[in-house]
């Protein structure tokens, strides 16, 4: 079994990682310990913060006592163990704010300075590209970004090799790369990022090479990553969202002299794809490149931005999730579960199409994961089970309105004299509820806040999106009426009606009473057993086969 690594780069990469984390939560990566690296220039980015918080929450849900982050399990929720590492290229502090300063153009002899300036001016526009503030990313200037991303990683390697004042983010990158070196030819590395923006588009072409050179620099040439053997894959995610054009007033300062203009995203995508199609380094480093695009009008993400300014980055950049990101996460699933195709010397470009009718997409479960090895059925089972449980916790047991949600299940078990889960604390229940809020929805002062799955579904509506439209109510009155056993479009996966004297929920509780965690699920702690127990009860209620 190969060792799995994920690198997410830039704002879009972070949201893809968010989707990937939710795939892990529903249980798509059994028996795996996955190393996750977030890589950005903008450490305050809202999307990055949200994704890292989801991963931390995931780990808190899996943590029991001293076993931080839990252990890998099988056929249950939260089955993969996730290890998060964070690295950011540091552009804070005097002399590091922009290209001109960080590249030390004005050091050395007058001749050297002149030569440096000439070379820089040849590739990078003098007043804008060389002088904008780097702390919010590379702002669609990929020719600059590639250079600086590579520089940031090599700078970290030099700092580690030198010892002394090594920054925490450099240590985290080192820990991640150590695992990569250790895995050797068994490493499968998947990279999330866009090709139309700034940071992701800048980094995807250089990351394999940069990591290889990081290892060489840090070890003074004694260690290496063999790029012909390590398996790298990535998304080639073209434009799918847009935002308001920056006005001249906002661009008047040197810090903001360059701002990504969404109207150029299609052009950026086209140019990037031409590059990925022909660049020999990319073709040599990557085994699979997944084309993911959105052929309809790009979604405007400014709905959540009340100001007049274009958001360049920082904590305010919290774009809602899009189905293209879920598809990217599913591309990672495909890459990680592939059994062959890695022997080729040249990258293979992968793509697929989805049914499009009456001006909208209609997504089925197989569209996300394919049907090889029953992947579509497994995805339907696990996403459906997790979504049902989220609704039980948030809707039926009221966690979305401040009630204690999943605790209701423990009370339910206690009422049925199943007391083995009574040691799960209220705080642990709250963490599980909080995860469901991130996954599905919550209320804040009676205002409905859509979570990941609702946001993804909104990008497809009114087209079909795996589940029945009735499974996505937003009004409290509709939520109250929701039957959690009928979220699938296919009635075959509805919970049994129950017949005389009982209802769907009653038959589910009876299955809960009569089932339990199995040994092959490899669950050890009380919380893991509890989640596996619920998983089994929902799976059989949904008429899926327990693996």
């Amino acid at each position: 079994m190969d060792k799995l690594f994920v690198i997410s780069i830039g704002g879009t990469g972070m949201r893809c990682l968010e989707s990937f984390t939710h795939l892990c939560a529903i249980g798509m990566f059994d028996n795996q310990e996955i190393e996750l690296l977030t890589l950005d220039t903008d450490q305050t980015n809202g999307n990055k913060a949200r994704t890292e918080e989801v991963i931390r929450l995931y780990n808190r849900v899996k943590t029991s006592g001293a076993v931080t982050g839990g252990t890998p399990n099988a056929n249950t929720f939260f089955s993969a163990k996730l290890n998060l590492y964070r690295f950011y290229t540091n552009y804070a502090g005097l002399g590091r704010e922009n290209y001109k300063n960080i590249s030390k153009l004005f050091t050395g002899s007058p001749e050297q300075q002149k030569a440096n300036k000439l070379v820089s001016d040849l590739f990078l526009e003098n007043n804008s590209v060389q002088e904008f503030n780097l702390s919010h990313g590379y702002r669609a200037q990929t020719h600059l970004g590639c250079l600086l991303m590579y520089h940031g990683i090599i700078e970290a390697a030099r700092s580690i090799a030198k010892g002394g004042d090594v920054q925490p983010q450099e240590r985290e990158l080192e820990a991640f790369v150590n695992k990569l070196v250790q895995a050797g030819a068994d490493a499968r590395v998947f990279i999330f990022g866009s090709v139309f923006g700034g940071t992701g588009a800048s980094a995807i072409p250089v990351i394999p090479k940069a990591l290889q050179d990081f290892v060489k620099t840090r070890s003074a040439g004694t260690e290496n990553i063999d790029l012909t053997k390590a398996k790298f894959g990535a998304t080639l995610l073209t434009e799918y969202f847009t935002f308001k054009k920056p006005d001249d007033a906002q661009k008047s300062t040197k810090d903001d002299s360059i701002i990504a203009d969404a109207s150029f995203f299609p052009l950026n995508s086209q140019a990037a794809l031409q590059f990925y199609q022909s660049d020999p380094t990319v073709q040599k480093c990557y085994k699979f490149l997944y084309h993911i695009g959105w052929p309809l009008e790009s979604k405007n993400v400014d709905e959540s931005n009340p100001g007049n300014k274009t958001i360049t980055g920082g904590s305010n950049q919290k774009n809602p999730c899009h189905i293209a990101e879920l598809l990217s996460a599913c591309a990672a699933y495909d890459f990680f579960t592939r059994e062959d195709g890695f022997e080729t010397a040249k990258a293979e470009y992968v793509y697929k199409a989805v049914s499009f009718k009456d001006n909208c997409f209609n997504f089925s479960f197989n569209d996300f994961t394919g049907s090889t090895n029953k992947a579509g059925e497994i995805f339907a089972n696990r996403l459906g089970a997790f979504f049902s449980l989220a609704h039980i916790s948030l809707t039926k047991n009221g966690a979305a309105n401040g009630n204690n949600g999943i605790k209701g299940f423990i009370v339910q078990c206690e009422n049925q004299k199943l007391t083995q889960y009574s040691t799960i604390t209220d705080e642990e229940c709250k963490e599980i509820n909080d995860y469901f809020k991130q996954f599905a929805y919550t209320f804040n002062n009676d205002i409905f806040l859509p979570g990941w799955l609702y946001q993804v579904r909104n990008t497809v509506a009114p087209g079909t999106f795996m589940f029945d439209g009735k499974a996505f109510p937003t009004a409290p009155s509709e939520l109250k009426k929701l039957d959690v056993g009928t979220i699938f479009m296919d009635a075959m996966h509805h919970w049994p009606k129950g017949g005389f004297l009982t209802d769907r929920y009653g038959t589910f509780v009876e299955r809960l009473i009569n089932s339990g965690p199995a040994e092959k699920q490899k669950v050890n702690t009380t919380k893991e057993k509890f989640l596996a127990h619920i998983y089994n009860a929902i799976t059989t209620s949904q008429n899926f086969t327990l693996n």
Binding site: I392, K396, N397, G398, N403, N404, G405, K407, G408, V411, Q412, N415, Q416, K417, L418, L501, T502, D503, Y505, G506, V509, E510, I513, N514
Partner: protein
């Protein structure tokens, strides 16, 4: 003979009430939420029926099955009816308890 009738009436009434208690428990749906009230409802109904059982049992025996005979026979019947009512009450509780233990993880488990 009349005494036997009294015992049969009270026993059948006790079993009928037990059957009603089982149906009632099954008919009360599992509730969600952090503080589901369904276990309390099942328990409450079990004890309401437990109290109603001797009352109904005695009234049915008294008004519908009272024998037409001399005082001695009637008194014998009344005595048997009172004893039978008590025994029926105990029977209801004992069988209820046994059922509750057998099906302790189900809805009947809420009785005790």
């Amino acid at each position: 003979m009349e005494s036997v009738l009294a015992y049969i009436v009270t026993a059948i009434t006790a079993l009928a009430f037990l059957l009603i208690a089982v149906f009632t428990a099954k008919a009360i749906k599992f509730e969600g939420g952090s503080n589901p009230k369904d276990p309390r409802k099942r328990k409450a109904w079990f004890w309401v029926l437990a109290i109603l059982n001797p009352i109904i049992s005695f009234l049915v025996g008294y008004f519908f099955f009272m024998p037409d005979g001399n005082v001695l026979i009637v008194n014998k019947y009344k005595t048997a009816l009172i004893i039978g009512t008590g025994v029926g009450f105990l029977l209801y509780i004992i069988i209820g308890f046994v059922l509750s233990r057998i099906f302790k993880n189900g809805k009947l488990g809420h009785w005790f």
